[in-house]
Symmetry: C2
Subunit: 206 residues, 2 copies
DNA sequence: ACAATATGTAACAGATCGGTATCGATACTA
DNA sequence: TAGTATCGATACCGATCTGTTACATATTGT
């Protein structure tokens, strides 16, 4: 294996094991065994286990949000429809056989102290996801994009939490229906003056 | 300390520490030190740590559901209002300074294998809570009590998950507002024929 | 009061934890 | 091709993990 690939391979392996067994239950020895790497090598890339966890979460944070953006933007053009499409993305991730719950919520659950760097990494991820929802809600011209984003986020967290226990994808569809119903009753600002690009105006019936 | 109280005291201590640090991160030595009890004593009451966890979750399950029932039934008489009052109970638990997330979701997050007894204990708790919601939804004469219960449950899980990260009680109020809005649009069956006891009929306008 | 039972103390066991040191082999670079 | 940095393998470290053993002491039911 080329030197430049080792770090990424270690992160991928660690992420898989953290997802499968949790953070405390996954020992360094297991990670290096699964990665096929010597312990010295791991500790040349990461000073401590905590640093490995943080790097892994950082990687996962970017992967997740990029994947959601890509999925959602390819799924719909209208921002309001994109807000709903985030639930389809959620359904896809939950359907994965390897799904065992949100890695960030689990990380926060195993590092409950709010000053713990792992907790803060999880918090940061959730903030960024919320910011994306708010960006979509703003683009969809909802009168209160912040509140809409918080509501969508709450439905996401609920769906994932229930899915973690039931191990079915149904909660994500349920959450989408609830989001549809809630958004349909929401006030929207007037569409902007017709600009240069012809923007599709598929507005939800109220 | 009297012999008959030791088991309960151990469970309380273990629950407090599990909530504070998590399950894997809480060692037996810490539990016995905090409980002021010898290690031999603990192992005469519980054969393994897993058995201690299971007994602790069982205790907490009953405590939680009894507390919710008591709170909700004292808070409102109308079943529909009681469904909403469950969010007030949630808010009270989240406001507790010791709140660090749902112990059952955390337990499932640290024991992700669906055949793990700890996971199954968490699953059982969630099923019983859902059954209570369904009981209330049925009493409130909603046309689809099962679906209503699932929706309420999803809002609960979302609120607790967000509260675990943000460490604020706001998500529980948000979830209650969402529940109010969703329930207001729901079909209700006709009230039953006037029976013996005068039942209050505070029906939500549709 | 007596006998049975449960307790505290403390040492111990074997395994595993995160992390380090040594060293020979291998790969990249000048 | 010589030098340098990283690799894998392995042994090791002290700490901590769950769980056990032995024995003296306290509490309990009869």
């Amino acid at each position: 294996m080329r030197r430049s690939e080792i770090r990424g391979h270690l992160l991928d392996t660690a992420l898989r094991l953290f997802n499968q067994h949790g953070y405390h239950a996954t020992g360094i020895d297991l990670i290096i065994a699964e990665a096929g790497v010597a312990k010295t090598t791991l500790y040349r890339h990461f000073e401590t286990k905590e640093e490995l966890i943080l790097a892994a979460l950082e990687r996962r944070d970017e992967e997740d949000r990029n994947a959601m953006r890509a999925f959602v933007e390819q799924q719909a053009r209208d921002p309001a429809e994109r807000l709903l499409a985030t639930f389809d993305f959620l359904e896809a991730t939950v359907r994965d056989k390897q799904f065992r719950g949100c890695m960030f919520l689990s990380a926060a659950g195993e590092h409950k102290d709010t000053v713990d760097p792992v907790f803060r990494a999880a918090l940061m991820h959730k903030r960024l996801v919320l910011a994306y929802f708010e960006e979509l809600a703003h683009a969809a011209r909802f009168a209160e994009p912040k509140r809409i984003a918080i509501e969508i986020n709450l439905l996401h967290e609920g769906a994932v939490a229930v899915a973690q226990i039931t191990r079915t994808a149904e909660p994500t569809r349920q959450a989408k229906r609830m989001a549809q119903q809630l958004l349909a009753a929401e006030e929207r600002l007037a569409p902007p003056a017709r600009g240069g690009d012809a923007e599709q105006r598929t507005q939800a019936e109220t």
